[in-house]
């Protein structure tokens, strides 16, 4: 090898870092502008989405108030003032009718379905101590099979569903369970859809888990929730 090797043209390290830094700064600027520019619209969209979901499960509600129930049994209104996050606190929505009277309480529940977690929002009727209905927040259940939970007449006939607490208000008197289609005998049982048993069970478990956790915290304070604050 006699011929001199021509050194490949190189860019100086400084130039590379400068360019990358410059472009990163430009991109950072674009991202932050987009975030700031859409922030209000996104928040408003989220609020409307929650409101719509709650109004669907509590048809008489005209306005909602968001609360959290802490493990100690305290109920705090989530306001614009910014509430400090309490660990283990559970969020729920109180729906108020046109006279600002409590129309129902909407609680989110989640359980594993056939293909992913099924998140539902269900309404608790404090006067009747029943779960009056539910709606789906997110679900990836099989179209035409698992998504029948929202339209199947026999399944929807399960509601209102009994959700009474024991005398000491510590847990549900009867755990809510999903039973095989046609074998429902008690008002706290859910009659499953034939062919969509797993999704039906997920609905039952989601309601039961959330009700067992939250109702003992809410029910002792119902009088405080009666009127819209």
């Amino acid at each position: 090898m006699t011929s001199a090797v021509i050194p490949p043209q190189t860019t100086s390290a400084v130039a590379m870092i400068r360019t990358l830094g410059l472009i990163a700064a430009l991109c950072g600027f674009i991202i932050v502008s987009a975030y700031q520019g859409t922030y209000d619209a996104v928040r408003e969209n989220k609020r409307i989405a929650v409101e719509r979901a709650v109004f669907k499960v509590i048809p008489t509600a005209r306005s909602i108030v968001e609360y959290v129930a802490s493990p100690a049994g305290e109920i705090v209104k989530v306001g614009a003032g910014g509430t400090a996050a309490v660990s283990g606190a559970v969020k729920f929505y109180a729906g108020y009718d046109k006279d600002n009277k409590l129309a129902g309480i909407a609680v989110e529940g989640v359980a594993k379905g056939y293909s992913d977690n099924v998140r539902i929002l269900f309404a608790y009727d404090p006067a009747a101590q029943t779960v009056s209905g539910f709606g789906v927040v997110t679900s990836r259940e099989t179209p035409g099979i698992g998504d029948k939970i929202l339209v199947d007449k026999n399944f929807l006939a399960n509601f209102p569903l009994e959700a009474k607490l024991t005398a000491d208000l510590k847990k549900l008197a009867n755990a809510i369970v999903t039973v095989k289609h046609g074998s429902k005998t008690n008002p706290w049982e859910i009659d499953a859809i034939t062919g969509a048993t797993i999704t039906s069970r997920a609905v039952g478990r989601a309601i039961n888990d959330a009700a067992q956790l939250l109702l003992p915290r809410i029910v002792p304070h119902l009088s405080a929730l009666k009127e819209k604050p």
Partner: protein, 214 residues
């Protein structure tokens, strides 16, 4: 039409027809199969990709003399990721229902090979105008491809088009079409059609009256 306009038009049509990203190059199959369960989802995904592809290619083209070739891939990825984040916020601001329907596939536009491919193969070597035309053509081709998939899957799998019921109440939806396998079926059928058309076009000059020749 003068020569340069024709050329530009050719460049634009390239992405729609001769080099259609979906049906000819078979790129970007991840969103193409995953989100095309309905015409609306397919169209929105196509528009989101259009935004990212066009903006990224324009910025890459503008900065092409500034970007050292040693760090070009990192630069392109940063630029693409930026516009994906922007489109992510925009969709959230427009409609949360749409955002939920498209799910993780909005973020996954970052790794869409069409975009990085365009930035590397075209935008980094060409000035602004040709880049813009090429990017728009490719985006239009991809959007049309997604729409073709989404429309067929929605009509067969749900019996609706843009949410409007097409058939009577007796219609039993062909559910498999909105499930993942249906994506492959419909894509396969479209690829077949495109390949058949391309073949006939190539064969035509040889057999002069093309009609009736099988």
């Amino acid at each position: 039409m003068n020569a340069s306009t024709t050329e530009r038009w050719d460049e634009f049509m390239e992405g729609i027809w001769r080099q259609n990203p979906l049906f000819v190059m078979v790129l970007g199959l991840c969103p193409a199969l995953a989100v095309t369960v309905s015409a609306v989802n397919a169209l929105s995904m196509g528009l989101a990709t259009t935004f990212v592809l066009t903006c990224s290619c324009v910025l890459v083209s503008l900065l092409r003399k500034l970007i050292p070739k040693e760090v070009r891939i990192a630069t392109y990825i940063v630029i693409i990721a930026t516009f994906v984040t922007v489109v992510d916020y925009l969709i959230q601001a427009i409609s949360l229902a749409l955002y939920d329907a498209l799910g993780a596939f909005i973020q996954l536009i970052v790794v869409n090979c069409i975009i990085l491919g365009r930035a590397e193969a075209h935008a980094s070597k060409n000035p602004l105008l040709p880049t813009l035309i090429n990017a728009l053509g490719m985006s239009a081709g991809f959007t049309l491809g997604l729409f073709a998939l989404g429309a067929v899957r929605e009509i067969l799998g749900a019996g609706t088009f843009f949410g409007i019921a097409l058939f009577g109440a007796d219609f039993q939806p062909w559910v498999v079409m909105v499930l993942p396998p249906g994506g492959f079926f419909v894509l396969g059928a479209w690829l077949l059609i495109f390949a058949a058309i391309a073949r006939r076009k190539n064969a035509r000059p040889l057999s002069s009256p093309a009609q009736g020749v099988r």
